[in-house]
């Protein structure tokens, strides 16, 4: 009996391992939405002061882990594998991260394809400013400057120095901000940043009005402010070339319960909105950042000659061929067919010889057919699809195209009948001539 007990224990532990629930659906290409998110805060009180935002994330299935930004046990990776799929940095005043985290590690995290939400406020440290600059948003260098707007501020009984702004200059994108329009203005209090107009990857999601400027509210202005008007971005989003998404907000209070629940009245207008647009804005923007919307995948590239089903290894010039691809969009839980009318395919060799817009059957299948051009060489079927807010699709499939074989040329061309007649008449004349020449008297 004593001998059998250890083996019995082993058997029981094996059974319990098999019966335990399988690991939660983790971040992968098949399910692009992040699952495990690390939230770094300066002060754990943020957990309750921003609870509406965090609860909305949890209710959509994310696992949040809250840590202080200088926690010595912080690390994003262990043994080469990332421990989290997304990072929320609500720690504006941290000057050094704890543990093994630093600015380059955060950049590495984004470079690996993971998403980041970064929010700062008026006491933003250099570390956080550096992370924002890496992502394309340059905050105002003056550490005392905040965004002030004397014409577009929110009427409230607090300040009076017009640093609480009500902004409704939103980016026009249903992918990023959802289908429903945000009607109420969005409350913002914090610092402004600018984005380089030559940078195609960064977009201004919430822009300041033309009357805004970035300056220290407590002192007199000695020189014109460097950041003014619509070049100030309040909230920016960035989609990297590896489809990682970053949201940078100049105001941490934008996410707070106080702003989410408060009513808004823009200065100069009589309408009082019961609820600011903050909740809708942060919820929809977070959905986009964590790939619940606007994430495309293209599968099943097929091409064949019209009338056949197998994919040939080579085409001939002037063949008729068909090309099809299936494109799906991730809806947060499953892959839905993507419907658009501007997906194009190119038949490319150094330059596109054929460029056609594909038609869809509304179930995700895009197809078109065209004639191979009269040029031989090695071509590529290219689909390069980049739309604002969507992940970029870049497909290329190589296929050679050969010229006619000697027996594939056109024969008996009607335009050439006179030449055929002339040749045969010459032959006939030669025959008759030789007979006459030989047998004449």
């Amino acid at each position: 009996m004593a001998k059998q007990r250890p083996s019995l224990l082993l058997l029981l532990s094996l059974i319990s391992l098999l019966l335990s629930p399988p690991p939660a659906f983790s971040f992968s290409d098949e399910s692009p939405t992040a699952r495990r998110i690390l939230v770094l805060v300066d002060d754990l009180a943020l957990r309750s002061s921003h609870s509406i935002f965090f609860d909305s994330l949890v209710s959509r299935g994310y696992q949040l882990e809250f840590k202080l930004a200088d926690d010595p046990s912080l690390s994003l990776q262990r043994y080469g594998q990332f421990l989290y799929d997304g990072l929320v940095l609500f720690a504006p005043s941290v000057s050094r991260f704890g543990g093994s985290l630093d600015q380059s590690k955060v950049l590495e995290f984004v470079d690996a394809g993971h998403d980041l939400i970064l929010a700062v406020d008026s006491n933003a440290s250099d570390l956080v400013r550096g992370i924002a600059t890496d992502s394309g948003a340059d905050f105002d260098e003056d550490p005392e400057a905040v965004v002030i707007d004397h014409l577009s501020y929110a009427v409230s009984d607090a300040d009076g120095d017009h640093t609480l702004i009500a902004s409704d200059n939103l980016i026009k994108s249903n992918v990023i901000l959802g289908d429903k329009a945000i009607e109420a203005p969005i409350l913002f209090r914090g610092i402004g940043h600018s984005v380089n107009p030559a940078n195609t990857l960064v977009l201004k999601a919430l822009t300041a009005s033309p009357s805004a400027y970035s300056a220290n509210p407590k002192t007199k202005l000695s020189s014109p402010p460097s950041l003014t008007g619509s070049s100030i971005s309040l909230v920016s989003v960035m989609q990297a070339r590896n489809n990682a998404r970053v949201l940078i907000s100049g105001s941490l209070e934008l996410f707070s319960n106080r702003f989410l629940r408060s009513s808004v009245q823009k200065a100069g207008s009589k309408t009082i909105y019961d609820k600011s647009g903050n909740e809708q804005f942060v919820t929809e923007a977070a959905k986009w950042v964590f790939h619940e919307r606007g994430h495309l995948k293209a599968v099943n590239v097929k091409h064949n000659k019209v009338g056949e089903t197998t994919e040939p290894g080579i085409y001939r010039i002037n063949d008729d061929l068909e090309y099809s691809v299936e494109i799906y969009e991730w809806s947060g839980k499953s892959w839905e067919p993507y419907v658009a009318d501007d997906v194009q395919v190119q038949f490319f060799m150094m330059s596109p010889y054929v460029l056609k817009t594909m038609s869809t059957n509304k179930k995700g299948l895009y197809s078109t057919s065209f004639k191979v051009p009269d040029v031989y060489g090695v071509f590529q079927f290219k689909v390069e699809y980049e739309r604002l807010g969507y992940t970029s699709l870049s497909l290329a499939k190589q296929i050679p195209v050969r010229p006619f074989r000697h027996n594939e040329y056109e024969r008996f061309i009607p335009a050439a009948f006179p030449y055929y007649a002339a040749s045969f008449s010459t032959m006939g004349a030669f025959f008759i001539f030789s007979i006459v020449y030989l047998y004449h008297k």
Partner: protein, 114 residues
């Protein structure tokens, strides 16, 4: 000027008389050459009108006419009894050359006609 046209008329008449004296076989060859060249000219005029689309067919047609005309001219030179250079060449040999060359020419033409 009357003298000019008179001279031209005299020239044409003397040419006609001389030509009438050539042997019949040579006249037959001349006729064949004229036919071939006329066919070639008709083809060139057709191409000028319609464009050179099946260019290989055009070349083939013109070449067959011009080639056979050239071969007939060679035959005429070799068979003409007044030609001192080919005095020792039997006319049968000249005709056999003509026939073989024409066969090769028309073989090539058929291939290139497309």
């Amino acid at each position: 000027m009357a003298k000019g046209t008179n001279d031209a008329q005299l020239l044409v008449q003397s040419l006609r008389k001389a030509y009438a004296a050539t042997p019949t076989s040579l006249k037959i060859i001349d006729l064949y050459v004229v036919y071939a060249v006329a066919t070639a000219l008709i083809q060139v005029a057709y191409m000028a009108m319609v464009g050179s689309f099946p260019f290989n067919s055009f070349l083939s047609g013109v070449l067959s006419c011009v080639g056979t005309a050239v071969l007939a001219v060679c035959l005429r030179i070799q068979v003409n009894k007044d030609n001192k250079e080919f005095k020792d060449l039997p006319p049968e040999r000249a005709f056999a050359d003509f026939v073989l060359c024409n066969l090769v020419l028309h073989l090539v033409i058929m291939n290139f006609l497309g």
